[in-house]
């Protein structure tokens, strides 16, 4: 069970990182000159 928690943390973080890529890109489209 605890294994699943830590595997979940790893997977969740990298999903967050993928979302962060999208957010950084969106910021560029919205604000870059």
């Amino acid at each position: 069970m605890t294994d699943l928690v830590y595997i979940g943390i790893i997977v969740a973080f990298f999903l967050l990182a993928l979302a962060y890529i999208a957010a950084c890109e969106a910021l560029g489209k919205g604000g870059s000159k």
């Binding site: 830590y6 790893i10 890529i21």
Partner: protein
């Protein structure tokens, strides 16, 4: 400080200067896909790898594709390292029949090695089987270093290219960095280390009979191994005679070589490079220090070569060198001065300074030099215990990490870190003269600075927030401390700084192998690596798309001593302004308390 010690430090620096150009040229050839002298041997292996994976080496990616590939690769790596640890009891090459590390320790170690941090909450020889050390940890030493190098090259490509969104192929950069740079140098370095006495075998541990036994006090346990307590709840103690010593063995040399070259720093043994089987001689110590700086120094020359401004590369090298040498001599001076609380009859000149926690094989000079090198670069290997340094001597390694690991820095990570600082430097210089900032023919615009600030701000946010929570939590934060007061705060602060900065060195004195520290330090490592890389890649992608702006009289030159001075100022100001308040509560306060006669 002695003349001999100063000469040793300057000799080390002279060797770094000498290897920077050849290493830089070689790195340029490798990442430009040009032919190298290793092609006849490694070329067929590289092409075979591409064929097996159906990879088209010439297919280039934009920054988002590159980032996604890097993230997915790191995700799979993290899960693999976690699984290998948890299954180690069932896997081969485990002569000591070591059980699996706990879940929280396995999580911490998995992300630690994938992020090139190599923070170790465990002791290698009592926790990891030979198979885990080799297949999980050493493999990640290569791959995480190769990822860092690939990212540095991407940033340099972003600067050197115009009107394109293509920055290279992540898989090609990963393969070429591993195959042409890390593997060959590590191979010969490992053989050298074996020649110096580093062990490389699969033998079970040896037991040696001590010539002189001694008695220690230990907790008394019942037949089931449970600690016996008295009526007051205190542990019952008993004397135990120690007359044997277990001598750990294992494939240490092969891990040691890449541990230093890849600025990973994770020791095969718990004592890391202070262990006689991991760093046996002053010569092995010198080569280990050299390996740490070899690639980061070379990258400065690669930068100049690829952006066609060699003067810029040397200007960046100069900024790194000035901060590095200042740190070395400050630490050396602090450690040579020793502890003023020693009785007045103790002559510091005879004692040689503060030798607590230091190997007599290396002495004060090489301990101070090693400590500054390993924290300037994001290596994290140690040959002395930083916890035992004087307050100011221990503060310099901590400050090195707080400056963002840009003083040569980790393999690749140091280069892209300093380039973000360069962007900020050019921006601030532009503000000073009221012109749009330009950097090597590119206008620096709002998006570049937004991303640079995301890069720069998340680092102190994580360190300070998690240190603060740990410092006020008696149930899970403070219980791990061996020292109280200012020194205790230094221990907590150093741990989160080291993790977030992906350094991995431990100040010591803090038991980090707990649910709280293993989990929070693991999360700090992930954020400190990947959430800083992504905005950096976004800057690289944005720079590559820009048109060439011809240089004018108003363009700020980035190949002059003035630029070097400004870059040093920005690095110091960003670090000092952010961390000075907490430093004043920890090592600086401790320094004054020590001079007033108080220890912790």
């Amino acid at each position: 400080m002695t003349f001999n010690g100063i000469v040793q430090i300057l000799l080390f620096f002279a060797v770094i200067v000498a290897v920077t150009k050849p290493m830089g040229i070689y790195l340029t050839r490798v990442y430009s896909g040009e032919r190298t002298f290793l092609d006849p041997v490694l070329g067929p292996i590289e092409r075979l790898l591409y064929r097996l994976t159906r990879l088209k080496a010439t297919d280039e990616m934009n920054w988002k594709q590159y980032a996604v590939a890097m993230i997915l690769f790191s995700l799979v790596s993290s899960l693999a390292v976690y699984a290998l640890q948890r299954l180690q009891f069932f896997l081969p090459l485990n002569p000591q029949e070591l059980a699996a590390p706990s879940e929280h320790s396995s999580f911490n170690t998995a992300v630690s090695f994938v992020t090139n941090t190599n923070w170790q909450g465990y002791g290698g020889e009592v926790t990891m089987s030979y198979f885990t050390q080799m297949s999980a940890l050493t493999v990640q030493n290569f791959l995480s270093a190769a990822v860092g190098m690939a990212l540095a090259i991407v940033f340099i490509r972003g600067i050197s290219r115009f009107e394109t969104d293509k920055l290279g192929n992540f898989w090609t950069d990963l393969v070429r960095g591993t195959l042409y740079v890390l593997l060959p140098i590590s191979f010969f370095a490992a053989i050298f280390f074996v020649s110096q006495g580093v062990v490389q075998n699969f033998k079970p541990y040896e037991t040696a009979q001590l010539t002189e036994s001694f008695v220690v006090e230990v907790d008394k346990k019942d037949a089931d191994g449970n600690v016996i307590t008295d009526d007051a709840g205190e542990n019952v103690k008993e004397d135990k005679t120690i007359d044997t010593q277990t001598i750990a063995q294992g494939p240490a040399a092969s891990q040691l070589a890449i541990k230093m070259l890849g600025t990973n720093g994770g020791g095969f043994f718990n004592a890391n490079s202070a262990h006689p089987f991991e760093n046996p001689t002053p010569f092995s110590n010198f080569i280990q220090m050299l390996l740490i700086f070899l690639i980061p120094a070379g990258f400065t020359y690669t930068l100049g070569r690829m952006v066609k401004s060699q003067g810029h590369g040397w200007a960046v090298f100069g900024a790194m060198s000035v901060i590095f040498l200042a740190g070395v001599f400050a630490t050396y001076a602090a450690e040579s001065a020793g502890n003023p609380i020693f009785p007045a009859a103790v002559d510091q000149a005879v004692v040689g300074g503060n030798l607590e926690g230091k190997e007599t094989r290396f002495g004060v000079t090489n301990s101070a030099l090693f400590a500054v090198i390993t924290t300037a670069a994001s290596c994290g290997a140690v040959n002395a215990m930083h916890d035992s340094f004087t307050p100011l001597g221990g503060m310099i390694p901590m400050v090195n990490i707080m400056l963002g690991e840009v003083i040569f820095g980790g393999v690749g990570a140091g280069m892209y870190g300093i380039l973000v600082m360069v962007i900020l430097t050019v921006f601030i210089a532009g503000l000073m003269v009221g012109r749009t900032p330009e950097y090597l023919g590119k206008k620096i615009e709002s998006y570049d600075i937004q991303m640079a600030m995301l890069y720069a701000l998340i680092f102190p946010l994580i360190i300070l927030a998690l240190s603060a929570v740990s410092s006020i939590s008696p149930n899970f934060g403070l219980t791990s401390l061996n020292n109280r007061g200012a020194h205790g705060l230094s221990e907590i602060l150093y741990a989160f700084t080291s993790a977030t900065g992906n350094n991995g060195s431990a100040f010591g004195g803090l038991n980090a192998n707990t649910y709280w520290y293993n989990t929070t330090l693991g999360v700090a490592m992930l954020i400190g690596r990947f959430l800083m890389i992504i905005p950096m890649l976004a800057i690289a992608g944005n720079l590559a798309k820009k048109k060439m702006v011809p240089a004018t009289l108003g363009t700020f030159p980035v190949n002059t001593p003035l630029f070097t001075v400004l870059l040093i100022s920005i690095v110091l100001i960003v670090g000092a302004l952010t961390f000075f308040p907490v430093l004043s509560l920890a090592p600086i306060l401790e320094h004054f308390q020590m001079n007033a006669g108080q220890t912790f």
